[in-house]
Amino acid sequence: MTQENKYPKAGPFSRFLLGISRRRFLRLSTGSMAGGFVGCLLNREEWAAGSDGTSPWGENRTRLRELGIEIGRYPPGPYNAITDVRGVRVGHCTKISGSGKLRVGVGPVRTGVTVIMPHKGNVFEEKLAVGHFVLNGNGEMTGFVRDREAGTLETPIFLTGTANIGIVYDAALTYLMEQNPDIGISENVPVPVVAECWDAMGDTEGRHITEQDVLNAIKAASGGPVAEGAVGGGTGMRSYGFKAGIGSSSRVLPDERGGYTVGVLVNANHGSRHLLRIDGVPVGEELLDYPEKKESGKSKSIIMVAATDAPMLPVQLQRLCKRLALGLARTGSVSTHGSGDIFIAFSTGNRITKNSKEFLCVDDSMVSRLWEAAVEAAEEAVLNALTSAPTMDGKDDRVCEGIPLDRLVSLMQKYNRLRR
């Protein structure tokens, strides 16, 4: 399909896009979005990137490692994603349609929902230990009060745009009620975890997410590779002055350190261009000349979700959550006033029921390596969101550029940070 077929209004930036879309990068191949792209395609105007990593905008996007940039010292799991933690599944529903001038209730639509299913069973019946950290509170994560009180996670975790919170929350209840017919009768009513970032690239007020979209995201949830960038809850997100959204990464500790896996998934919508650092390189400063259109709506945020198979207490998971902030900081974030930087971490190492009397947890002598793994995975997840997300236009024809991968590679080479 040509770009024009996929996207009705390429606009004046098409020349630029086509310019870079023909470039090949180190090992840039079809692997970047091997997980495919799960969208809810409701009409001809809505489409999704193909599983070959080609975006509808004609760009090839890829993951950080495919560019030869490697973060930290621990190896990633087979998918280098949160799904490397056994049982964790991710699903997206992506809503993209229209372009041009903002018309409330019509479009352009740049939004979606991403769901993280914490284990393969019924998480309401078999809860998981959970911890949180609020680095900067200008955001929303529902279920926080209940989960913090109980120390358990009892629902999937949903990521979406700010205005969609109520709709996604309500749809999550529909799913949970279907799965658990006793809810509201003999069972308590769960409090779903729904976290937001401000996807101001599209018509937020129109709230284009429906209950069915949320249920579709749940249905689409799978293990294996995770689609990243402008997908699901990350569809309308920007970070460091570039297009961003969903990113994921993982680390596996060596057997003598427990062999545990730590996986991170982020919805990145934070930071200004000049702040961006990749593996210590001041990439943002070097790319200040690269076109950046100012978008309205200053409030930016990042939601970070960590999963681990290391059995951990809620207090230990709280400590792990703080390390996500350190991984975020390595990418340059200063967690600005308007940012809702809210983190959640869960462990699949214990399934907790009402009558649970036993709990397995790692010795604190083990946790420092887990922290290191978490920091590495958090950093790389944010960067995967950037390198995977293609240039996209938003409301009022404002264009948000994807980070230029060719320039990124030469920069990393210049600073001697290319691994191969």
Binding site: V134, N138, E140, G166, P192
Partner: protein, 358 residues
């Protein structure tokens, strides 16, 4: 069983029950705090006994202004949205919605619609994020019917007024059950004179907690003595409250004010179950922060710590009285599966208290 028409309902004070030592404000309600408005949307038909109540902390034209908020989560087994901004910033302009635990998403969505009506750049102001606190009213209400819709949140906002607050079996209190009696919305206030000005602390409580035998009123263990009425005891306890004051208070002081409201509730009892909801949001209208670009610094005046105790006492007294008012105002409600929660027979109860005191 009396019908609701025959039940004589009144506030604790009208019944002769005077709690605490500080005087109430003219309305003896949260609306004694200037600018505060309360609105209800009541759903009462058959097995649907629920609703939405909103507390609007300030006049609707107050765009780009922030107020100080605080909270106390005594037991967080429930939902309170907006909590990250509240706890981390301590300043916001959010409306406070109360509803049933199944309706949080829809009421939140109503809060978003309300926010867009105030400010198109929602997260820059617009009262975002809305605070939605929940209780479980399933004893009388068919939760799975999910009767509350977004429009009911907007209806509550539209109906919000200053002046006398409707209380008892209204709004989010429609299906509430407390101490085996019909519970619901109750409110009370205290006047505190401070530096030649008259200030108020007002509390609104949604009482849906406590077993019959736990009920203590004015130090009298009336619940234990109660023999002759059917008890609507249930296991889904939850109580949520809103404290408002026009006294200039910092977020930290407001956290303390919210704590004292729970201390007031505790005088009545009913907060000891393992999975319960007990949380309070407090805000002050005494300091209005104009959030405009040119502002570099704010000069703030707070109540000094040396003078704060009487306000804390006021919060505890008003919180205690608001629960009693909820009980004394609530009318008998018949809900799902023929279940009934009886209104407290005020006369009988007052006789018991007087006899005990003698």
């Amino acid at each position: 069983m009396m019908t609701s028409m025959e039940e004589k309902r009144m506030d604790a004070r009208e019944a002769g029950l005077i709690l605490g030592g500080l005087p109430p404000g003219p309305l003896n309600g949260i609306t004694d705090v200037k600018g505060v408005r309360v609105g209800h949307a009541t759903l009462s038909r058959g097995d649907v006994q629920t609703g939405v109540t909103v507390v609007l902390p300030h006049e609707a034209d107050a765009e780009r202004a922030l107020w100080f908020y605080g909270c106390h989560i005594f037991d967080g087994h429930g939902e309170a949205t907006g909590i990250q901004v509240l706890e981390d910033f301590g300043m916001m302009s959010a409306p406070v919605f109360l509803t049933n635990v199944m309706a949080v998403g829809r009421v939140y969505n109503g809060g978003i619609t309300f926010g867009y009506g105030r400010d198109k750049g929602l997260p820059t102001d617009g009262g975002w994020p809305p605070i939605v606190m929940s209780i479980d009213d399933r004893y009388l209400n068919n939760l799975r019917a999910r009767a509350v819709k977004e429009q009911h949140a907007l209806e509550a906002v539209k109906k919000a007024t200053s002046g006398v607050v409707d209380s008892g079996s209204v709004g989010a209190g429609t299906g509430a059950v407390a101490f085996g009696f019909k519970g619901g919305i109750g409110t009370s206030s205290r006047r505190v004179d401070w530096d030649a000005s008259t200030t108020h602390v007002g509390v609104m409580t949604l009482a849906n907690h406590g077993s019959r035998e736990e009920l203590v009123i004015d130090g009298v263990p009336v619940g234990k003595k109660w023999k002759d009425a059917a008890s609507a005891d249930h296991a889904y306890h939850g109580v949520v409250g809103v404290v408002a004051t026009d006294v200039p208070m910092s977020p930290r002081q407001l956290n303390h004010l919210a704590q004292r409201a729970v201390a007031g509730w505790q005088r009545i009892g009913g907060l000891l179950d393992s999975i319960t909801t007990a949380m309070v949001v407090a805000f002050s209208t005494g300091i209005r922060l104009e959030s405009v670009k040119e502002t570099r610094e704010h000069r703030l005046e707070f109540v000094p710590e040396s003078r704060i105790s009487s306000f804390y006492r006021a919060a505890a007294e008003a919180a205690e009285e608001s629960v009693i008012n909820a009980l004394f105002r609530a009318t008998t409600v018949k809900g799902r599966d023929g279940r009934v929660a009886q209104a407290v027979p005020v006369d009988t109860l007052m006789k018991m208290i007087k006899t005990h005191k003698r």
